[in-house]
Amino acid sequence: EDQVTQSPEALRLQEGESSSLNCSYTVSGLRGLFWYRQDPGKGPEFLFTLYSAGEEKEKERLKATLTKKESFLHITAPKPEDSATYLCAVTVPGGSYIPTFGRGTSLIVHP
């Protein structure tokens, strides 16, 4: 069973149409939650790290929020260059710092 579930799998938006991507996790406890952006054929590009419920981070049109069971990546007034796959990953307390990745949300923003 997946520990990290991202939804939707794919999302198409019109330029300027704000929306949110979801990352829910079923792990016991959370050390950190990470958001990455991945362009086709490229490596994941770090966006945010969140550690505790209620925490928020912002970067340009992106804002990441965290609750006890899920995180949202809010995209405000997206542009076509925001088109990418957005990956969520979590680490848990108790030794390993290796993140478990979700399958990602593929975002396409149409002009």
């Binding site: 950190g32 990470f34 990455y36 054929g41 490229k42 490596g43 994941p44 590009e45 770090f46 790290t49 990956l87 990953a89 680490t91 390993s96 710092y97 290796i98 993140p99 990745f101 979700g102 399958r103 990602g104």
Partner: protein, 112 residues
């Protein structure tokens, strides 16, 4: 801005051949990682490396795989006898501490 670099960007090899994938982590980082991503699937952890030794490895990282830091800058992943199912994107990552990891652009490996 410092970044992780990887070479080659693409590698085509015959089944059974050895391949070496190379990475130059960010210079002040102490922790190094290899991941792979089969087309359309999740990013999967292979191995982590700290203080010149493997600190953690996954079930995927069997005896066919090895890692090395041959000098002060390079970090390599060797696959001794490639199989068709080794075809994937291989990503190197590094981190300053045991938290946020920064990924390289990847090597696309195709085993024929």
């Amino acid at each position: 801005e410092p970044e992780v670099t990887q070479t080659p960007s693409h590698q085509v090899t015959q089944m059974g051949q050895e391949v070496i994938l190379r990475c130059v982590p960010i210079s002040n980082h102490l922790y190094f990682y290899w991941y792979r991503q089969i087309l359309g699937q999740k990013v999967e952890f292979l191995v982590s490396f700290y203080n010149n030794e493997i600190s953690e490895k996954s079930e995927i990282f069997d005896d066919q795989f090895s890692v090395e830091r041959p000098d002060g800058s390079n970090f390599t992943l060797k696959i001794r006898s490639t199989k068709l199912e080794d075809s994937a994107m291989y990503f190197c990552a590094s981190s300053e501490a045991l938290e946020t990891q920064y990924f390289g652009p990847g090597t696309r490996l195709l085993v024929l």
